[in-house]
Symmetry: C2
Subunit: 352 residues, 2 copies
């Protein structure tokens, strides 16, 4: 029986992860695959109860687990700690690195009933269906960093090895081949040496995928094009920092980051989490939107357990609930039927 480690984390993470677990249990009821859920501490909860953001026990459990479901980490309570100890760096980033989760996938697919929630005009976003594939364990995030004196200065290093670039770009080609066959590699090759290297390797890999149409785009232009004409994109692949910026930007096409799920993969192992944060201001009030976490559960079934049919069952159940006019407060307009966090989870279970 596969083991899923659930790491609720902080803030609304404590409220949204139980809803995703509930939905996963419901969709697999009577199924030959059943999941065994275990629980661990991460982020502020790790600091408070076990002395650090990624307790050794959590790391060991994560290494042993088949998949991880994460809520969200962080909050004002821990913001005064030195950065490397905080929930984000000491918890989430440390876990990504330790597990080698090099590929972060964020699908952004517009649902007809959510078009009005976007700040972009309806005709610009109504057919958006793209995936951003972000390299997650290299680049500026993990390169050498430090301070200098004489003159007083600080530096970070953007470094990529050939192998790091190959594995992520290759995955981009594979994903594009399974979708609409178009891969856009985003870099800044007119300025960065690491981008020129990225581009050379990408061109080399392209030879193995003659059926995929490859384009290159500078990151400044990509940010612009995501706002100007987002429907032009199928799969976008890019390095860590550019991906951090572009995934959030792409999520915003949906109007709220409350619907965006994500998967962070390393071949076999996967970590699944909503794209949004821990929202300390609304925590504990049963008003957080659990759908991004529920949809992250669907990604888990797809990528970690090969259960494509069951993944789609969850995705369709979410659509059905929205179709019927149910919304959590973050998405509600007048006329909608507003549900709390738990009630939204129940509605998805019922729609299954």
């Amino acid at each position: 029986m596969p083991n899923v480690l659930v790491l609720p984390g902080d803030g609304i993470g404590l409220e949204i992860t139980p809803e995703a677990v509930k939905v996963l249990q419901a969709v697999l009821k009577g199924h030959s695959t059943t999941l065994n859920f275990e629980y661990g501490l991460i982020g502020g909860a790790g600091i408070d109860e076990a002395g650090k953001a990624l307790p050794d026990e959590t790391l060991a459990a994560a290494q042993a687990a088949d998949a991880i479901l994460l809520g969200s980490v962080g909050g004002p309570k821990w913001d005064t700690l030195p950065a490397p100890q905080r929930p984000e760096l000491g918890g989430l980033l440390a876990l990504r690195k330790a597990l080698g989760l090099f590929a972060n996938i964020r699908p952004v697919k517009m649902l007809p009933m959510l078009v009005e929630a976007s700040t972009l005009r309806t005709e610009v976003v109504k057919n958006v269906d793209l995936v951003v594939l972000r390299e997650l364990t290299g680049g500026l995030y993990f390169g050498e960093k430090g301070r200098g004196t004489n003159p007083n200065s600080a530096f970070d290093t953007l470094v990529y090895t050939e192998e790091e670039i190959r594995r992520i770009v290759d995955l981009g080609f594979q994903m594009a081949a399974k979708r609409r066959g178009r891969l856009c590699s985003v870099d800044k090759a007119n300025v960065l040496e690491s981008s020129r290297f990225w581009r050379e390797i990408t061109l080399d890999i392209a030879k193995n995928y003659p059926e995929v149409e490859l384009t290159h785009m500078y990151v400044d232009n990509a940010a612009m094009q995501l706002v100007r004409w987002p429907e032009q994109f199928d799969v976008i692949v890019t390095e860590n920092m550019f991906g951090d910026i572009l995934t959030d930007l792409a999520s915003m096409l949906m109007g709220s980051i409350g619907m965006i799920s994500s998967a962070s993969l390393n071949g076999g192992k996967g970590l699944y989490e909503p794209a949004h944060g821990s929202a300390p201001d609304i925590a504990g009030k049963n008003i957080a939107n659990p759908l991004a976490t529920i949809l992250s559960g669907a990604l888990m079934l797809r990528y970690s357990f090969g259960l494509e049919h069951e993944a789609q069952m969850i995705e369709k159940a979410v659509e059905r609930v929205l179709q019927e006019g149910y919304r959590t407060p973050d998405l509600a307009k007048s006329g909608d039927k507003v549900l709390g966090t738990r009630e939204m989870g129940d509605a998805v279970v019922e729609a299954l």
Copy 2:
């Protein structure tokens, strides 16, 4: 008599710079300040006619000039050269660095008659009035870069000295103090050491500007907020690469980058250019939009020559022409009166 060096560059640069010169001459007709215009080569034109993208003669003229008006550089003809020799890196970036133009200013102010051209909903963009201040001579652009073997790799360095950060952030506070009093410093302090350094220095400078309200925002969130609620911003200050991405993104709020002017300053000296590129596909057809270059001329009067009144005269003339329904093809909708490049320049002169 102040000297202005005009560098038309490549593509539509050759068509749009004469219109800006025409407007500058018209607004200063009979004025006590008259400008002397000289001309030079840069970019592809420099490569073709003088053997390199930034010919020595051009650099010397730029160093001697009081201000520089630039069109745009680059085109497919030179894209096969090694990156450091190309029009962008070898021409434009080399000139920025040689003149120490550390501050890039891009104002993004919505005009009522252009609201419909934005891909964002009217109510989201109608009151946008922000400035992005981008550091232009440091960071990843100019840090050490190279390749490594064993393993095969490539790197770039994001490095900032205290002095580089101080001068740009200080300018941000000055600009905010003269506008609506709000400065948003964008960084990635939860990950980058250079950002933590940036934040410390920013907090230190803030003590000198008690009247300015300072906020900090992570760059991923800033990209999102520019799409979600752009009216929240007054002045944004950020490092070079983040600024490259965010200035283009912010420009897109206007629907077309064809209206966005920019100033690159170093205390006394300034280089003024449109935010758009050389658009080789439409070059030579008298259809390019000269307004961003004309508005860059207004910025020149404001920042290099202290002629605020005359700068505003140009800005108002542009608004009047648009108000009357005149548009270049990039902005035209049905019912608009379409003008060519030269005719648009004439219309602005007339409106003066």
